[in-house]
Amino acid sequence: MYSFTYHRPKSLSEAKSMLGGAEDGKLLAGGQTLLPTMKQRLAMPSDLVDLGQVAELQGIEVTGDAVVIGAGVRHADVASSAEVRKAIPALADLASHIGDPHVRHRGTLGGSVANNDPAADYPGAVLGLGATVHTDARQIAADDFFKGIFETALEDGEIITKISFPIPAKAAYAKFPNPASRYSLVGAFVAQMKDGSVRVAITGAGANGVFRVAEMEKALAGNFSADAIANVKVSPDDVNGDIHGSPEYRAHLVTVMAKRAVAAAG
């Protein structure tokens, strides 16, 4: 690790000014990606602004039609929140399967979504529920937020403050983990919203990160059953491949996992 200047702001405005004053500053949330990268000397920020004590980023709130989770809330807290589990069990379930206990007790919602790792789980829930990403400057719809692998709509210095997840009629997340890293090789988040519309978001497989499968959404809107999408395939051309799974295999798993998510949603 190269040396850097460490900052620990108490408020969002203080964080903004510290980041603004740094030559090449980075925000530190849970640090589950950033710190290993720095230890390997693959990143060398001049300053780290630790968001851990920024009160505005904390808290879980359930309103009548949404679960609003602060960007600084850790995965373990989402997984164990009775309120989240009651309102959107699929979201608590997803959080409970991220990484391992160490990761879940350090990693945060905002950190995961801002990083937009193509194999991360949370982007599946954000896109699959049509959530709204709140930042210190604006609100961004999930469909406009994810821009490609490790790319988001966030401007330089923009900080995610919270994410608002609409409470669906039913939803489930089915994940096939990469055996080595336990990131998702393919993860399918399927939600039937209260207005009857259906969203299907796939993480882990996309050549450009998390994506929706319109054909599945259409089929499920008419008939919310696993059988309805049994013959809907995504093209291997749009799916990534590596030593853990070829595009053909991942494309096949997209249908399998989506079916399982539908079945689990009930």
Binding site: M1, R41, F176, P179, A180, S181, I243, H244, Y249, V256
Partner: protein
């Protein structure tokens, strides 16, 4: 036999310090004024070093030196060595290239070290290492062992044309060919034994201290065999003469073979400690462990087995290409030959075997012995082939095995080994019962209802442990003897120190070795201290690998102990005015049999040291040493049964039950043996389902260089094991031990793959059986 005696589940004495974080590993050892070494490593698989400019690095804060291969060569230090000479079919000796501790002219694999930076702190050394400017001329590389022998393939060592190290034969080729001519069935198979990375939990480390006053060196090192390290470093590399070099292997966190070898890093630290006049320490980062800890397995094999009309094996032909990597290490040549070809008879009565092993260099990291070393490769091949034969000939897989089992002992195989004991029918019988083989059809049916494919696979194995005897090892090309030494020191107050040449890196020697003393003398294990891992304390020893600590190391202790007992009896007889033959040792006392006369063991030892009243001609003191050289290998054997459920939609495979029935001879501590089996099975399952070292075929970059990509088995991936024993006592050593350290890793892989074959109906499956591979096996 007391609560601490042999055969008891005595809790491990060493665990208190390990569990409470009080273990003393190399990186924990503090010495004043220590500097830190960081190695500059090649980013290329094959390149010529045109120039190294260290001027910028040398000017950086805290930097003491930047040393290169040129400096190493100028100090006339030797090459690292391969410890076993193999001769090719044509009688020529193997063709070994140099293994410099720092590359001087060319780098031969990604991670090869080209320079070392010594600085006050690790971070300073790292900063400076980034500023060492190495001008490389990239050369074409060859990664695939089969392609390495192609004409026109890149040449790695001038000493080995076509990258060919040796082609070693074993068995009778003409007789085997003749047997095949009369075959009713011939079964053929091509298998790859996947390359593995060891992943000991403690990374390799070294701390080298040069004492200018004594002109001597001390090396603290993650080693499984400190005396062998000292011998190699003094006699071959020439860093320091043997009597001026002390090697300490303190607590070591796992080895599995990977810490047998003398590596470049400790060699360089020793040399540099004198050059910079300060202690030098190095601890591998995990990335360095992946790149440079000796890798394992990596065989490409074609084999054929001939059967007569009655399904008896009449011939076995094997052709194996072994990838050795870029350099030969201590056991690189022995592992794919004498530890592999000699076990190809397995548990089966075969009259004719012929095997050729071709060893080749590639631009990859070194490959050497790793838990099982050669025997897992032999067992995997044999048990995949038997399974295939049963399927092709349409005979029951259990019956085919039983029909061909060796039934009587001793049994001379056509490939050197003389098996001394075993009962293979009893092993499979017990395994069938514990695995509830009869209930399999019902379980398959039930699984089918849940949409799962259930399958069961067998593996039988026999392996050779306690590498021995020395004369035989020498005749086959081994560079050292394979005995073990021990010293039993009884202190005046009656407690005991045992000095052993074995080395514990997790095995539990401090407990099991103490159990032997406690059992024989009738004193508690708390009164016995095991001393190991320090060349200044223990006279000489061969260290621990090849499951040798029990069959060889413990028998050496017994031999020394018997001398101590004999002397103690002499003294006791004299003091109690009884005949020596009437003295018995029981419950910590020396008693005159049939009388109430007795002396405490401490009273006798005190008498030995006060020497006020000793029998005529008896020297004071109570301390004896022994060297034990075995008369044969030992032959643990077993039957492993794996049961899996496969999800046909994803290829995900779950091991629902794993049964291992083993014959380890006598068992000293069942709890520790079970621990060894659990660990071995998990490593074997790791090879079968999860682990695979992958290099980019063109560039030679390691694609599985971290835990994000190299998949280690986790607790959740393995079942709660069902273990059983069926014992035949080993007749070749006094304690009747066979060894248990590697059996799990040897027997398990084929049982896992055979279970997947049974579940899916397809034998087009390779290790590791990843979900995608299993899915493709089902769906084509």
């Amino acid at each position: 036999m007391g609560a601490d005696g042999l055969g008891q589940r005595v809790l491990r004495k060493e665990d208190r310090r390990f569990i409470t974080g009080k273990g003393r590993y190399t990186d924990d050892i503090a010495v004043a004024r220590a500097t830190h070494a960081v190695f500059v490593r090649s980013p290329y698989a094959h390149a010529r070093i045109r120039n190294i400019d260290a001027s910028e690095a040398l000017a950086m804060p805290g930097v003491h030196a930047v040393l290169t291969g040129k400096d190493f060569a100028e100090d006339k230090l030797g090459s690292l060595i391969c410890g076993w000479m193999i001769h090719s079919k044509d009688g020529s000796p193997m063709k070994v290239g140099a293994h410099p501790s720092i590359a001087a002219d060319t780098v031969k694999h990604v991670g090869d070290q080209v320079a070392v930076v010594i600085a006050d702190t690790r971070e300073q050394a790292r900063d400076a290492a980034e500023k060492v400017a190495v001008d490389y001329e990239e050369l074409p590389a060859v990664i695939d062992p089969v392609k390495a022998m192609d004409p026109g393939a890149p040449q790695i060592h001038p000493e080995a044309p076509n990258n060919h190290i040796f082609t070693w034969p074993i068995g009778d080729e003409a007789a085997t060919d003749a047997a095949f001519k009369g075959a009713a069935h011939v079964v053929k198979i091509d298998v790859i034994n996947n390359r593995l990375i060891p992943n000991a939990i403690e990374p390799r480390a070294a701390l080298a201290v040069y004492d200018e006053a004594e002109e001597s060196y001390t090396l603290y090192n993650t080693t499984q065999n400190p005396h062998v390290a000292r011998l190699v470093l003094s006699a071959f590399v020439g860093v320091a003469p043997e009597h001026k070099l002390r090697v300490v292997g303190p607590d070591v966190g796992g080895g599995f073979g990977s810490k047998i070898y003398v590596y470049p890093e400790e060699t360089v630290c020793l040399w540099a400690s004198k050059k910079v006049g300060r202690p030098v320490r190095w601890t591998a980062e995990r990335t360095e462990s992946f790149l440079t800890d000796a890798h394992a397995r990596d065989h490409v094999t074609h084999a054929e087995m001939a059967f007569d009309a009655d399904h008896r094996i009449i011939g076995f032909k094997v052709n194996t290409i072994a990838n050795i990597g870029a350099y030969m290490q201590i056991f690189s040549s022995a592992t794919p030959t004498y530890l592999y070809g000699t076990l190809l008879s397995g548990q089966y009565d075969m009259k004719n075997i012929y095997c050729e092993v071709t060893a080749v260099y590639t631009n990859t990291n070194c490959v050497d012995a790793y838990r099982g070393a050669g025997r897992p490769e032999a067992t995997y091949l044999l048990e995949r082939l038997i399974e295939k034969a049963a399927r092709e000939m349409g005979v029951d897989r259990v019956e085919l095995r039983r029909k061909n089992f060796i039934k009587s002992f001793p049994h001379q195989t056509p490939v050197i080994m003389n098996y001394d004991s075993g009962d293979f029918d009893a092993l499979i019988e017990k395994a069938l019962e514990l695995a509830d083989y009869k209930g399999l059809p019902a379980r398959k049916e039930e699984a089918k209802k849940r949409g799962k494919l259930r399958g069961l696979g067998f593996s039988t194995y026999i392996e050779a442990c306690g590498l021995a005897p020395s004369a035989a090892v020498g005749a086959l090309g081994g560079g050292v003897g394979q005995w073990e030494s021990a010293e039993v020191r009884v202190n005046p107050t009656g407690n005991v120190e045992v000095l052993t040449g074995s080395h514990s890196h997790g095995q539990g020697h401090e407990t099991v070795f103490a159990q032997l003393i406690a059992d024989r003398l009738g004193i508690g294990v708390e009164n016995v201290q095991i001393v190991h891992g320090d060349t200044d304390k223990v006279q000489f020893g061969m260290g621990t690998y090849g499951s040798r600590s029990g069959p060889v190391g413990l028998n050496a202790i017994l031999k020394a102990l018997e001398k101590v007992e004999a002397k103690a009896k002499k003294i006791a007889a004299h003091l109690m005015e009884a005949a020596e033959d009437d003295i018995v040792i029981e419950g910590g006392k020396l008693k005159v049999a049939g009388t109430d006369k007795e002396l405490g063991f401490g009273e006798v030892s005190l008498a030995a040291y006060t020497a006020h009243n000793l029998p005529q001609g008896i020297e004071p003191g109570l301390k004896e040493g022994a060297f034990y050289d075995p008369i044969n290998f030992t032959f643990p054997s077993g039957c492993h049964v794996c049961e899996v459920e496969v999800d046909p939609d994803t290829g995900h495979t779950e091991i629902v039950k794993f049964t291992a029935v083993d014959d380890f001879g006598n068992i000293m501590n069942p709890m520790i043996v079970e621990g060894q089996v659990h660990g071995g099975l998990t490593q074997g399952i790791g090879q079968a389902m999860f682990e695979g070292c992958i290099y980019d075929k063109e560039t030679g970059q390691l694609l599985t260089g971290s835990y994000m990509d190299y998949c280690m088995p986790r607790a959740a991936d393995v079942p709660s094991y069902t273990l059983g024993h069926s014992t035949t006592v080993c007749p070749s050593n006094p304690l009747g031990l066979k060894g248990c350290g590697e059996a799990g890793a040897i027997g398990s892989p084929p049982s896992v793959i055979n279970a997947i074959i049974d579940a899916t109906g397809s034998d087009n499956i390779a290790m590791p059986a990843t979900p995608e591979r299993v899915w493709r096996a089902i769906h084509g």
